[in-house]
Amino acid sequence: MKNWWKILTVLLLVFTVAAGMLSDVPRLAILNETIRNLYFHVPMWFGMILILLISVVYSIKYLRKPSIESDIIAHEAARVGILFGVLGIVTGMEWAKFTWGEYWSNDPKQNASAIGLLIYFAYLVLRSSFAEQQQRARISAVYNIFAFAALIPLLFILPRLTDSLHPGNGGNPGFNAYDMDSSLRLVFYPAVLGWTLLGIWIVNIKSRLEILRQRLYENA
C-alpha cells in the first residue's frame, strides 16, 4: 500500500477538526474557547519547520550530488513551508487580536517570525533571478541552508531571551511551558502530524508535476 500515508492524512485532519471542536479543553481566563486554536495555529509552525527541514535536506543532497529532482523538491518544499508560515503568522495575528489586544504588538516572537519569513521570501526572489538552471539550483541550495540556520535562532532562541506574550517564551520555558494537559495533547499531536502530512502531500504532488514538466522539456 503505497499511499497509506495519504489516507492517514485525511483521517488525522478529520479527527483534528471534529475532536478539536468537541473535546474538553482547560477552562482558562482570557483564552476561553480560543485555546482550540492550538490545534490549528501551532501546527502551521510545526509543519513549516518540518517541511523547511525537508527542503534543507534536499538542498544538501543537491550540493552533494546534483540532480534536477533534488532541486525541484527543495524548491517546492520551501514554497509550501513559506505558505504554512504565512498561514501561521496570519492565524497568530487573528488570535492575538482577541487575546493580546492587538493584531501586531511587536512581540519578540511575532517580529522574529516576520524576519524569518522575509529571509525565506528572499530565497524565492534569489531563485527567480537566475536563468541558468545549474547556477540557480546551486546558489539557492546554499542560500536555503543559510536561511534555515537563521530561522532556528529567530524562532526558538531569540524570543526566549526577552519578555514575550507568546507562551513558551520569556525566561526558561522547558517543555511544559504550554501547560498542556493530556486532553490537549490527545488532539494536538495528531493535529501536528495531520497538517504536516498535508503539507508533505502538496509538496509531493507539486514536485511530481514539476519533474514531469522537466521531462517534457527534455523530450521536446
Partner: protein, 93 residues
C-alpha cells in the same frame, strides 16, 4: 490508486451523512416547553445538532470545507499520476 478512489468515496459519504443529519433539524421547530400528561411518551427527535450552542453546525461546516479541500488535493494527485503514467508510456514507445 484504487484506495484513493475508495477514500474519495468515503469523504463523500461522510459529507453526505452530515448533510442528511442537518436537514431534519432545519425543518424542526423550536422545542416547546408545554407540559404533556405523564402518559405521553417522549418523542425522539434529531436534537443533537442544535445542542451546545450549535457547535455541531460549525463542526459540520469545517468538515465540509476540509472535505472539499482534501477532495481537490486527491483529484490533483490522481491527475498527476495519470500524466506520469501517460508520459512513461509515451517514452517507452
Amino acid at each position: 490508486m484504487k484506495m484513493l478512489r475508495i477514500l474519495a468515496l468515503c469523504c463523500f459519504i461522510l459529507c453526505g451523512a452530515l448533510g442528511i443529519h442537518t436537514t431534519p433539524v432545519q425543518a424542526q421547530p423550536e422545542q416547546t416547553t408545554v407540559e404533556f400528561s405523564a402518559a405521553q411518551p417522549e418523542v425522539e427527535m434529531a436534537d443533537q445538532m442544535r445542542q451546545d450552542g450549535k457547535i455541531y453546525i460549525v463542526v459540520t461546516v469545517l468538515l465540509t470545507v476540509l472535505g472539499g479541500l482534501l477532495f481537490y488535493v486527491i483529484t490533483v494527485d490522481r491527475k498527476v499520476s495519470k500524466l506520469e503514467k501517460e508520459l512513461k508510456e509515451g517514452l517507452g514507445r
